[in-house]
């Protein structure tokens, strides 16, 4: 009797789960329904113009007010003095954050008056990260750099740091704006979208037909990118043919199968595949390679260099879009130094970041690293993550 009860309860739970209605799609499959902000048309070579245009956009909309937080004044001015920073990425032990750490060490060495230590949990766990930051607040440091595992969960402990007079700068993954002073944004959604679409149009022509392999239709980042791609392509490449979006979770086998499905279904008619995750990209490339279609189907996607080296080095894939995490870590340290020195204040529209030059402020309190980085056969072997 009780057993039946329990089983029926579980069934009910499962049923409720399955029958949840998929949200209505009024955009291309896999896109979200938030506002889009496509960048001006143009090929990827005009990187500098690109950022100028972005600034124009920014001015058109009116500069957003600074919305970051400020540390409590503790009296002593640290301008030009030696400062101790701690860097708390989402986790340690993976290539990506090893690369941001490398960039931070490069910046610290160049500046000479900054020391940075990286310490974070070995798993991307919100609570462990909070406890690590809390311990550094107790210990007392001059600044905290972070890449948040969760934007809201990390906010209280960051506010506590600000209250203790510690400078707080984020990179890679943001927190609530008022819990930190600045966030170094590695790439805006519209920038990534533009780079992806430009790359495909450049390789296969402005009338190419393509499919998309994404994680799921509701994964926030992927949905945002697809929405921005849709907006950018409608404006700049109206002749592109959008075939189909397939979900592949973040699963290697499924990604391979979904890419194969696209190849088999559309055959000659398909010129390209957009792969939206770092799992989907190498596996889509693998599927294309195994089908012997490297010349006919261009795979363009977001991925880390290590996974893509085989396909880029043998010419099957031309462009891999991402950002440069070494520069990202480097910029975070320069921004923090400038903040401590009083050279970068709320309301400023740009900041100087060593070898990266002048970085623009966007969205109120974010520093934009620049246009996305395109890994090609020329540079991909310089990266290890």
């Amino acid at each position: 009797m009780k057993k039946t009860l329990a089983i029926s309860m579980i069934l009910a739970l499962l049923l409720a789960l399955v029958s949840m209605p998929l949200s209505a799609q009024d955009r291309w499959d896999g896109a979200d329904d938030l506002a889009v902000n496509p960048l001006a048309c143009g090929m990827g070579d005009e990187m500098m113009d690109d950022s100028d245009e972005m600034m124009d956009d920014e001015e058109d909309m009116g500069m957003m007010e600074y919305d970051g937080g400020q540390p409590a004044m503790m009296g002593d001015d640290m301008a030009g003095m030696d400062i101790v920073l701690v860097d708390v990425p989402k986790l340690v032990g993976i290539g990506y954050f090893a690369a941001t750490t490398l960039g931070q060490q490069q910046a610290a060495e160049e500046l000479g008056n900054v020391s940075v230590t990286t310490d974070a949990p070995t798993e991307a766990n919100i609570d462990d990260q909070i406890q690590v930051i809390d311990a550094y607040i107790t210990q007392g440091v001059d600044g905290i750099l972070f890449a948040a595992n969760d934007p809201v969960a990390i906010a209280p402990v960051l506010r506590k740091a600000l209250e203790a007079g510690i400078h707080v700068v984020g990179y890679d993954a943001n927190s609530e704006p008022d819990a930190r002073e600045w966030f170094v944004n590695q790439a805006e959604f519209n920038g990534i979208a533009k780079a992806l679409v430009d790359s495909l149009a450049d390789q296969m022509g402005a009338d190419a037909a393509f499919g998309i392999v994404t994680s799921t239709f509701t994964t926030p980042n992927q949905a945002r990118w697809i929405a921005e791609m849709w907006a950018y392509a409608s404006e700049c490449y109206p002749d592109l043919t959008w075939l189909e979006t397939l979900e592949a979770q973040e699963d290697a086998v499924l990604s391979f199968q979904q890419a194969q499905t696209l190849i088999n279904k559309y055959g000659e008619d398909m010129d390209g595949i957009f792969a939206m995750t770092s799992v989907a990209t190498p596996n889509s490339a693998d599927a294309v390679q195994q089908a012997g279609l490297c010349e006919d189907v261009a795979v363009v996607g977001l991925a880390t260099p290590n996974g893509m080296k085989p396909y880029v080095n043998d010419g099957c894939v031309r462009d891999v879009i991402l950002w440069n995490p070494v520069d990202l870590g480097y910029a975070a340290v320069y921004v923090t130094r400038a903040v401590v020195d009083g050279e970068f204040m709320p309301g400023d529209s740009s900041v100087m970041a060593g070898r990266l030059g002048e970085l623009m402020v966007v969205n109120g309190s974010e520093v934009l690293l620049g246009p996305p980085f395109v890994f090609t056969a020329d540079n991909i072997n310089d990266f290890d993550f």
Binding site: K2, K3, L5, A6, M9, I10, L13, L17, M20, V92, G93, T117, D119, A120, P121, T122, E123, N125, I126, D127, D128, I130, Q131, V132, D134, A135, Y136, T138, Q139, G140, D150, V152, A153, A155, P156, T216, T218, T219, P220
Partner: protein, 327 residues
Amino acid sequence: MPSAPRNPTVVEKLRRHLISQEGVLFMIMLVSVLFLATRTDKFLTVDNLLQQGRFMTEVGLIAIPMTYIIITGGIDLSVGSILGLTAIVLGWSWQELGFPLELAIVTGIASGTLAGFVNGLFIVRVGVPPLIMTLATLALFRGLAEGISKARSARGYPEWFFELGQGEFLGIPTQLWLLIVAVLVFGIVLARTQLGRALYAIGNNETGARFSGLTVNRYLLLIYTFSGFMSGVAGYIFVSRVSTTRSDMGTGIELDVIAAVVLGGTSIFGGTGSVAGTMIGVVLIQLLKNGLALSGVTSDATIVVIGSVLIFAILVNNFIQTRRGGD
């Protein structure tokens, strides 16, 4: 060696307490604390210790029913997933279904309790071994949480909601009061009531307990449901503390909890253990984590040290208990 039945003197009583499981562990904790205090002056301060109390409350609360369960020779691996499920149901019923927040909290904890009840039901009625059943629901409940939330998080709670997780009452973190009360009540329940005795009996010899007329199934169902309930409460506190809900909340917490329980002297084979020992285990692990971090040991090195201390503490305790058994 047989001894004359006489009242033990104060010294003997003290000695017996000192070389008990809990006593030995307590001393290891004392030594660790003193050692850490010499490494950094930031560690042994009231503020820092209270903050650690805040951080360890969720693990502490779940460790109580886990002690009960392990004493009966069982295990519950699904507690972290139940915590996550509770958090998601709380946030989802509030934000998506439009429940008042108070009702959403109750719904969340109720769903955690129900999850524990399902565990217990299958273990008792179908006879699935606890390890297998809760390993299955570890995946199942997490999957439910992910499915319900669709990888979205619920945030934007009103101010009063954070009182439990981030506020203070009489200078002590609010949730720590809850832990203290729970430890006292359920510690006494285990040590001094019929229920407690029954749990030990089941752990020592389940068949024997059945033949002695104990309603074993009812007790087991009760403690697995209790485990779901406490995981639910911990989930609520966790959401209140970090001010958001995510489906990956509580991932891996079952290992922290089991480590604390076993370190606290509860035998994984059942039959022995106490809530006091478990709490010393919880506190020891938390203080080590924090103290090492404050003395500049990085997180990856910290987990190595904690693992070593776990093994060391269990070895020392085993050694002393064996010696003691001989006298």
